[in-house]
Amino acid sequence: MDGILNALILLSNFVIVPGIAYGSQLAIGALGVTLVYGILRFSNFAHGDTMAFGTMATVLLTWALQSWGVSISPFPTALLALPFGIICTILVCLAADRWVYRFYRREKAAPVVFLIASIGVMFVLNGLVRFIIGPDDQRFADGERFIMKAREFKRLTHFNEGITIKTSQGLTVVTAAIVVIALFWFLKRSRAGKSMRAFSDNEDLALLSGINPERVVMITWIIAAALATIAGVLYGLDKSFKPFTYFQLLLPIFASAIVGGLGNPLGAIAGGFMIAFSEVTVTYAYKKFLAYALPGDWAPQGLVQLLSTDYKFAVSFVILVLVLLLRPTGIFGGKAV
């Protein structure tokens, strides 16, 4: 019995807790992608670098606050700087819309043209971030690091294995829950949110109803920028901030949004967790887990790891391809890609 429990604790520590945290981060990222797709009708490839830009702005203010001795310990100072990062990102997104996307909107350009334009925006943001903060790994987490340490868990429960929960992980889950509830409330109940849904559902009829498309687009960018910054900062607190990693996050984020069904917010959340758990479960080495779970001498010799962590991006890629082959509108039914 103890063996099974130890195995479950081990799994919680290395798979479930990190999976939930990573899943929440992907979900918030995918929500931004899916909203832009639903309203502006293109895949925004600049989303990863928008996340990086927002995180950079937040990191810079965090450092400033730290140097001024401002602290909200046990919480990370970055939380205090987050609203500033969000505002900077909103301005950047609105500027990109004004200078790039609006032109193509007036031209009534095809979605693929928007997509290419967003790749241009991606390169600009990418360069901007590297120019300002550099391409290196930046740490900006401070405050209390753990909600629960493995050692304490072991002392309290007398199991061999322990569960570690990092502050950043707890923070991620709580923030994600708040963000998702707030977003859904906004979309379901508020006038502006309903007009966004109407615009996404039937653009022509929305125009006939007197809904102002430019306003809907502006609100969408504001929300997408806020979501991107929040996702980026949470990911950075949990791991670290490196611009290139954020660019790479584009793949699992798009996979999440597409798996759930592009344009469908609920699907984006479900997709985020699916991708996260697939990545974590496939790359985890089950040797110790099996040693606990199986009777005495059945313990495996090898690592029992399906894929090396280096291949984690392959996981989202394979899922993406399978979904596009078998169910192009995603599991929860969005728009066909």
Binding site: D201, L205, S209, G210
Partner: protein, 238 residues
């Protein structure tokens, strides 16, 4: 036909989507509380004429007047604000949104309390009240058309334009819808509609316009067109 000028007038409408004109010097008008029906064979430019009146077509010649004022240069959205409302033939409801939300979106430009208008729409179409929480995409064809008309009525329009409101619904539902449309007209709203079911539509029409190849062929009261042997033979199946 009366001597006073109609509330909504499209005059000498000429234009099309690409290079060639679809409408040629087409005249259409409807007064308050009247029902005007545009009929004609397929490809006669009926829907195009509606689009021209609503500002969704670039006119090469001609003008549109509402209540005596020239609105030719206004966008469709601006025309909505001026009291015009349009129900397109296809995709005329927000399928993913509930019936009530559809009606709310219809009232989007209104900043005042629209609960009384919502009540009026529910009185006109009782089934919508019953299904107010259901997604519009899950409704039957006839119920969808009711949502579409209801949405258009939410702005309290002075002109209601309907592009084939009875397309794809059963004869019983069609008669139902026509009854409702008469009711709407009686409240003083000018109704301009395009209809595929010419015979039934002309029966309720104060004015009828028979278009052929983008030109006015016959223009008269509904009853007179119904009585005209040429119209009967060519457009009403005998």
């Amino acid at each position: 036909m009366n001597g006073a000028e109609d509330y909504l007038i499209g005059e000498h409408l000429t234009g099309g989507y690409g290079g060639a004109n679809i409408l040629h010097d087409c005249n259409i008008g409807v007064g308050r509380g009247e029902i005007a029906v545009i009929v004609g064979p397929n490809g006669a430019g009926k829907s195009t004429a509606m689009k021209a009146v609503f500002g969704m077509l670039n006119l090469r010649e001609g003008s549109v007047r509402l209540d005596g004022k020239d609105i030719t240069g206004l966008t469709p959205q601006a025309r909505v604000a001026k009291g015009m409302s349009f129900v397109p033939q296809n995709h005329n409801v927000f399928t993913s949104m509930s019936v009530e939300e559809n009606l709310e979106m219809g009232a989007f430009i209104r900043r005042d309390d629209f609960t009384d208008t919502l009540g009026q729409v529910f009185d006109l179409f009782p089934i919508l009240k019953e299904k107010r929480r259901q997604a519009a995409g899950e409704l039957s064809g006839g119920q969808r058309q009711q949502v579409a008309v209801g949405r258009a009525l939410m702005t309290k329009p002075k002109v209601l334009m309907l592009d084939e409101p009875t397309a794809g619904v059963s004869p019983i539902v069609m008669n139902e819808l026509f009854d409702r449309i008469i009711e709407v007209a009686k409240s003083g709203i000018a109704i301009l509609m395009v209809e595929q079911n010419a015979r039934q539509a002309l029966r309720i029409a104060d004015k009828g316009y028979v278009l052929v190849q983008g030109r006015n062929r016959y223009t008269d009261t509904g009853a007179a067109l119904m009585a005209n042997p040429e119209v009967r033979k060519a457009f009403l199946g005998g």
